[in-house]
Symmetry: C2
DNA sequence: CAATTTTTTTCCGATAAACAAAAAAACCCG
DNA sequence: CGGGTTTTTTTGTTTATCGGAAAAAAATTG
């Protein structure tokens, strides 16, 4: 085997969708939007670090903003490898769920 | 949080798709069809047991068949709870991947 | 019953998930 | 400058899942 985990897949996709707005707090919100579930920060940053370690994402420090408070943000973006992995995840998902729709579950 | 894992999701779906043909070996083949990846049996049965323990699937022994060799099969089927979980997984996937297509990845 | 086949079980180290709590780094204002 | 407040990130710990190699079981044949 060897497949992205659910969490990895969702975080990669969230970062990709956020484009150049992808830092911890925003990623967390995006994931909430996408799934209706809220990651704890521990869980979130831990997985972000794993993804970084595997070369799927790159991180870089942002400049402090002129807004009240808050330490400098750490931004994430997909590497080539990360984008390829995300694309493969997409294709596998398509193949896995092929032919299934909400109606499929109500055929008794 | 709390989401089905990738493996759980795929196995539930495979069992559902296999209907009344869902025993270990067939499930493994079905997953191979769906994902292009091959589970080891250790991994497979381990996850099937987890799913059973969580009440997502039920197992029952099949009768020995008239074919050469082979011990009796253990069949799996989704419980109500399992079907509901699968359905929820489907909906979350839809929401998560909403608006994404293969072309999305080539927009440079 | 010995040989063969198909299917399932066991076991274990490596990874990943989940969370709570603490720490850092920035800004504001006296 | 220094205390207070805010936003963001880090740390540490426990539990659950993954991934695979190897062994065991149960059935049929001759």
């Amino acid at each position: 085997m060897k497949l992205l985990t659910k969490t990895e897949e969702i975080l990669l996709l969230a970062i990709w969708k956020l484009n150049d707005e992808a830092y911890g707090v925003k990623v967390r919100e995006k994931v909430m939007d996408m799934t209706g579930k809220l990651f704890t920060y521990g869980n979130l940053y831990c997985t972000l670090d794993q993804l970084t370690g595997k070369g799927f994402v790159m991180k870089y420090k942002g400049e402090p903003t002129p807004e009240r408070g808050g330490r400098a943000k750490t931004f994430y973006k997909l590497s080539e490898k990360g984008l390829t992995a995300l694309q493969e995840a997409f294709e596998i998902n398509q193949s896995v769920w092929d032919g299934v729709s909400l109606y499929s579950f109500t055929r008794n």
